[in-house]
């Protein structure tokens, strides 16, 4: 019989709300920068790599932020 130890979540559930707030704020800053860049940059000065990396960073932070928001409100996915 294998030895078993009590399982705890990889992150303390008490920190989910703080994490959700910080991650979503950072994510919104990146998303905002992305949108401003999209609207203000002229066609000649476009840089696809820069735009994609901005979008990637924003989606990672917003994605994890949303997950922790779900966990905070009690939707344990």
């Amino acid at each position: 019989m294998a030895e078993y130890t009590p399982y705890n979540a990889p992150l303390n559930p008490a920190s989910f709300s703080t994490l959700a707030f910080i991650l979503i704020v950072i994510g919104l800053i990146f998303a905002g920068t992305f949108f401003v860049q999209q609207v203000t940059t002229s066609k000649q000065n476009r840089n696809l790599v820069q735009e994609l990396s901005g979008a990637g960073l924003a989606s990672v932070f917003l994605g994890f932020g949303t997950l922790f928001l779900l966990l905070t409100v009690g939707i344990y996915v």
Binding site: P6, A9, L52, A55, A58, S59, G74, Y76, V77
Partner: protein
């Protein structure tokens, strides 16, 4: 004449050996003393048999038979023997048509001439019937129990006594087969000597049953395991007062004014695990505010008051749910995860559940699922879809009928689960946001102008 006597002797010898051969498969047992206790203090009839069984045959006996009176299947039959009271003996129903017989397999065979002390416990629901069948709100409920005067047994019983415990001192009528003595809330029958197997003499007790016949028609339990640190438990409970039917109309004034009759369910206490939090109690209408949570030393008590008092025949369906942390219930080891959780909670004190269904929702990607239950259950598998699921979560469905408090033990589900697949859900959200931003990127690169580009004139 002498030759004839020898012939007769030979014939008798042959006859006795054939009888011995016939009973070799079923060793001849005899019950030296039998003490039976019939506890009628709640609507669950608890019968305890203390037997001293003697093997009067020549072969060793590896098992013995006990019988149960009445036409109700017991919710629980358990047996222990004297030298090792902690070891539960194996009990199996005998496929006999005329009686409820149970075969108890002894730990070690009982040698010829030896005796053993065996204690058998039966818990039977529905053995007591309300009599009269219908009563008004103010009347006192009375119930009748009909059984056998002598301990039902396939063996000869040398000496036996029966003690009947009632919920109160008020007895309407009881079988008076001497010797019998009644004092307070107990009636003692016996000792009766040398009773033949399967005596059919009746025993009937008609008594005041001022406790509610609260029966749980069904419980549907949903256990959702999340590796983010939560186990969500939700019970949908269907309760009914199965005592004497309510007659006439219900008067709220009479109900509120004095002490309501004992058969009416006003409120009851549900026992939840100690670490239960975020407890909710609601039904189809919405939240039910008449509940109180008290934390005990080893459990959380929820005092549940239904929306209306439950009179005879009245029923209610409600939902009681709570969250548990993973720590004392979910374990991790080299061979995977192990979930150990109670099959059901003690919804009320005289618990009897006619139909229980427990659905354990494991995280998406769980495999090699194995279930270990302390009693036999009907098992099946299902798939459950909820937030951020792609292929669905594996569900273990366990069904059990006729459950009592003694069944409220923990069961275990073991499974393997890769911790990295926990990242599947956040990555799904990340992918959604990235698709959104990419769409903006593409849309921004499309030229919407109606006129042709004027680049050449610049």
């Amino acid at each position: 004449m002498r030759a004839f006597a020898l012939l007769l002797l030979a014939a008798v010898l042959v006859a006795s050996t054939t009888v011995a051969a016939a009973s070799a498969s079923e060793p001849s047992l005899r019950i030296k003393t039998a003490a039976r206790q019939i506890d009628l203090s709640t609507h669950l009839t608890r019968i305890t048999l203390d037997l001293t069984v003697e093997n009067t045959g020549s072969a060793a006996a590896s098992s013995l038979l006990v019988a149960l009176e009445g036409d109700r299947d017991p919710s629980l039959v358990s047996a222990i023997a004297a030298p090792s009271p902690k070891t539960q003996l194996a009990v199996a129903r005998e496929p006999a048509a005329d009686a409820r017989l149970f075969r108890i397999t002894l730990e070690s065979p009982l040698a010829a001439g030896k005796s053993i002390e065996v204690t058998v416990r039966f818990v039977v629901a529905g053995a007591q019937t309300a009599h009269p069948r219908e009563i008004t709100q103010q009347e006192v409920q009375r119930a009748r129990f009909v059984g056998r005067l002598h301990v039902p047994s396939p063996y000869q019983v040398a000496e036996q006594t029966t003690t009947v415990t009632l919920p109160s001192n008020n007895v309407v009528q009881y079988t008076r087969t001497k010797p019998v003595s009644a004092s307070g809330s107990t009636i003692k029958y016996g000792p009766y000597h040398d009773v033949a197997p399967f005596s059919v003499a009746p025993l009937s007790v008609h008594f005041e049953a001022a406790t509610p016949f609260l029966t749980t028609r069904s419980v549907k339990r949903l256990i959702e395991v999340s590796h983010w640190g939560n186990i969500a438990v939700e019970d949908v409970i269907h309760l009914q007062n199965t005592g004497a039917q309510h007659k006439g109309e219900f008067s709220r004034y009479d109900y509120q004014r004095g002490q309501p009759a004992g058969h009416i369910v006003r409120s009851f206490a549900s026992h939840l695990p100690l670490s239960a939090r975020d407890i909710y109690y609601r039904d189809v209408i919405g939240n039910i505010s008449t509940s109180h949570v008290r934390e005990g030393d080893s459990e959380v008590l929820v005092e549940v008051t239904p929306r209306f008092p439950l009179l005879g025949g009245w029923q209610t369906v409600y939902t009681l749910g709570y969250n548990l942390p993973t720590a004392p219930f979910l374990y991790t080891g080299s061979s995977g995860f192990k979930l150990t959780i109670p099959f059901l909670d003690q919804i009320h004190d005289t618990l009897v559940v006619e139909d229980a269904e427990v659905r354990v929702v494991l995280p998406e990607g769980a495999a090699n699922i194995q279930v270990h239950t302390p009693f036999e259950v009907e098992q099946s598998r299902d798939v459950h879809f909820t937030y951020l699921d792609t292929t669905g979560r594996p569900v273990v469905v366990l069904k059990k009928q006729n459950l009592v408090r003694e069944h409220l033990e923990q069961f275990t589900v073991t499974y393997t689960f890769s911790t990295t697949s926990m990242l599947q859900e956040p990555l799904l959200v990340v992918g959604f946001f990235f698709a959104l931003f990419s769409t903006i990127l593409v849309l921004n690169r499309i030229d919407y102008s109606i006129s042709a580009p004027k680049t050449k004139k610049d």
